[in-house]
Amino acid sequence: MAVNNLSLDAIQGEILGFLGLNGAGKTTTIRILLDLLRPNRGNAFILGHDCQSDGLRARLNIGYLPGEMGIYSDLTGREVLNLLAGLSGHVINMSRRGELQERLEFPTSDLRRRLREYSTGMKRKLGLIQAFQTDPMILILDEPTEGLDPLMQESFYKLLEDVKQRGRTVFMSSHVLSEVERVCDRIALVRKGELVLLSNVEELRKLAARQVRVHFAEDVPGPRSWNLKVEGPLGPLLRTIATLPVQDIEIEEPKLEDVILKYYRDGAK
C-alpha cells in the first residue's frame, strides 16, 4: 500500500514541507489531493471540500507543480501558460505573469520558443510560473527546486515568502533538507506510506544534537580536545567543564538534517 494511516492538516498561511525517501508516498499523497488517484479508504480535503466527491471545488483554488512537467514539446511557453490558465477558469493576469517572469528571470522572448528548445531549468521555471500565475489559495509543489540553479532557488524561496505573507498555503514535497529547514514552517515526514513525524521546524531543531568542541589548556582526563554531541540543554555539560581548564569552546547550531536523517535511517533499518 503506497499510503496508509496518513493524517495531517496544513494550516492556512503556512508552508508545509512534505518529506520522505523515494517511494515513501509523497507523490501518491499529492495525487490523491488532486483526485488523480482514488484512495481505497479515507478522505482528503482542500479548503473543506472533499478531494474526491467534491473535487471540482477542491481544485478551484489550487496551483500545482508536478515533479516532471509533462507537456507536448511542440507548444510554445506562452501557449502552455495560456492554456493552463484558461483551464483553471481564471482570467489571465498578465501583470502577475510578468512579475513572475521577472523574478524567475524568464524573458518574454523565451515564451515564444517551443518547449523542445527549453533546458530542464527553463521548463522548471515555466512550471513555477503556471502554478503561481493564477495566484491560487493553495500551492501544491512536487520537488519545486529540482533543476533550478542556486540563484533561481533563492528567487523561488523569496517568492514563497511573499505568497506566505499574503496568506497562501504551500504544501511542498522536497528532498533538499536545507531548503525545507529554510522555508518551511512545519514538516511532515512519511516513511513507507505512513506519517512518522509532523512537527514545527523550530521544535524539531531543538531535538537535534549540538556538536560541541571543547579545547583544554592543560591535560585533563581523556584527550585535550573533546568532540561531543549534546542533546537537550547545555547546562549540565557547562557545569561539568566549568571546573576544568577550558581554553576554548565551539558550539554548532543544531541541524534539522540530523533529526530527519535519523528518521530516514530508522526507516532504513
Binding site: L34, L36, R57, R59, I62, Y64, G89
Partner: protein, 272 residues
C-alpha cells in the same frame, strides 16, 4: 464548459497539420482516381478490365462487378479502397487515444489538477474524432465533385450524389465505430501505443474476418462480429439504398465505445 472548449481548440490545433495533410491527400486521391477512370473510359478499356478480373475478385464483387467496372464504379473506389479506409481508421484511432497519450506524458496531471471534470476529457475526444472524421469525408466528397468537373469525359454517367453521400456516410460511421473502440481502450490505458496497437490489431482481425467470410462460407457464421460487415459499398454501387441496419449497428458500437470510455476514464487512476 469554457475550459472544455479551450481544451478542444488546443487539441484541434495540435493535430491540424496531420488532419489537413491527410485530408488533402485523400481529396487528391479522389482526383487521381477520376482522372484514371476518365482515361480508361476514353480508351474504352472497362470491358477489358472486367474480363481480366480473377475469379476470387468476381466472387468478392458479386453482381456488382459490372457496375464496379465502370467510370462511376471506379470513381466510388475512393470510398472503399483499403488504403483510404486504413488511413481514416488510423486517424480516428490516433485521435481517440489522445487521453492515453496525455496520461503517458503527464499532461493529464496538469489538466486534471484544474477544476475540470473528467468527463470533459472524453467529450473533447469524441468531438475531436467526430469533427475530424466529418472534415475528412467532406474533403473527399469535395475532391470527388471537383474531380468530376475537371476530368470526367463528356457524356459519361456520373455517380449520383445520393450514392457518393451514402458511401461517405457509411464509411464515416465505420471510421467512428473504430474511433469508439479505440477510445474505450485508450480511456483505460497508460500508453497510446498500447491502446492504438490494440485497436489497430482488432481492426485488422475484424477486416480479415470479413474478408475471409466473403470467400469462405464457414466463416460467414461469425462474420457478423466484424464491424466491416456493416459497410458494404458494392451493395450501394448496384443502386441499393443505404441500409439503416448497417448504420444502426455501427452507431451502436460507436456509442457503446464512447460510453465505456466515459465510465473507464471516470473510474481509473491517473498514473504514468
Amino acid at each position: 464548459m469554457r475550459s472544455a472548449g479551450l481544451l478542444f481548440a488546443y487539441s484541434l490545433k495540435r493535430v491540424r497539420t496531420l488532419v489537413i495533410t491527410t485530408g488533402l491527400l485523400l481529396a487528391a486521391l479522389q482526383l487521381v482516381l477520376i482522372f484514371v477512370a476518365g482515361s480508361i473510359q476514353r480508351s474504352g478499356g472497362f470491358d477489358q478490365l472486367a474480363a481480366l478480373l480473377p475469379p476470387f475478385a468476381r466472387q468478392l464483387l458479386g453482381p456488382s462487378v459490372a457496375t464496379f467496372m465502370s467510370f462511376s464504379g471506379i470513381v466510388c473506389l475512393g470510398y472503399f479502397e483499403l488504403a483510404v479506409m486504413g488511413a481514416l481508421i488510423a486517424l480516428a484511432v490516433t485521435l481517440a487515444t489522445t487521453p492515453a497519450s496525455e496520461v503517458e506524458i503527464g499532461f493529464m496531471d496538469l489538466i486534471l489538477a484544474r477544476s475540470l471534470a473528467r468527463h470533459w476529457i472524453i467529450t473533447r475526444t469524441i468531438a475531436l474524432t467526430v469533427v475530424v472524421s466529418a472534415f475528412m469525408l467532406a474533403l473527399m466528397v469535395a475532391g470527388t465533385w471537383t474531380g468530376l468537373r475537371l476530368f470526367a469525359p463528356q457524356g459519361v454517367e456520373w455517380p449520383s450524389a445520393r450514392l457518393v453521400n451514402s458511401l461517405a456516410v457509411n464509411l464515416g460511421m465505420l471510421t467512428l465505430c473504430w474511433g469508439g473502440v479505440a477510445m474505450a481502450i485508450g480511456a483505460a490505458s497508460r500508453r497510446r501505443s498500447v491502446a492504438g496497437g490494440a485497436a489497430g490489431l482488432l481492426a485488422l482481425a475484424a477486416f480479415l474476418l470479413d474478408y475471409v467470410a466473403r470467400l469462405w462460407q464457414p466463416a460467414e457464421k461469425i462474420a457478423w462480429l466484424s464491424p466491416f460487415r456493416y459497410y458494404n459499398p458494392f451493395d450501394l454501387i448496384t443502386g441499393n439504398a443505404l441500409p439503416f441496419k448497417n448504420l444502426a449497428v455501427l452507431g451502436a458500437i460507436t456509442l457503446v465505445g464512447f460510453a465505456a470510455a466515459y465510465v473507464l476514464f471516470a473510474r481509473r487512476d491517473i498514473s504514468h
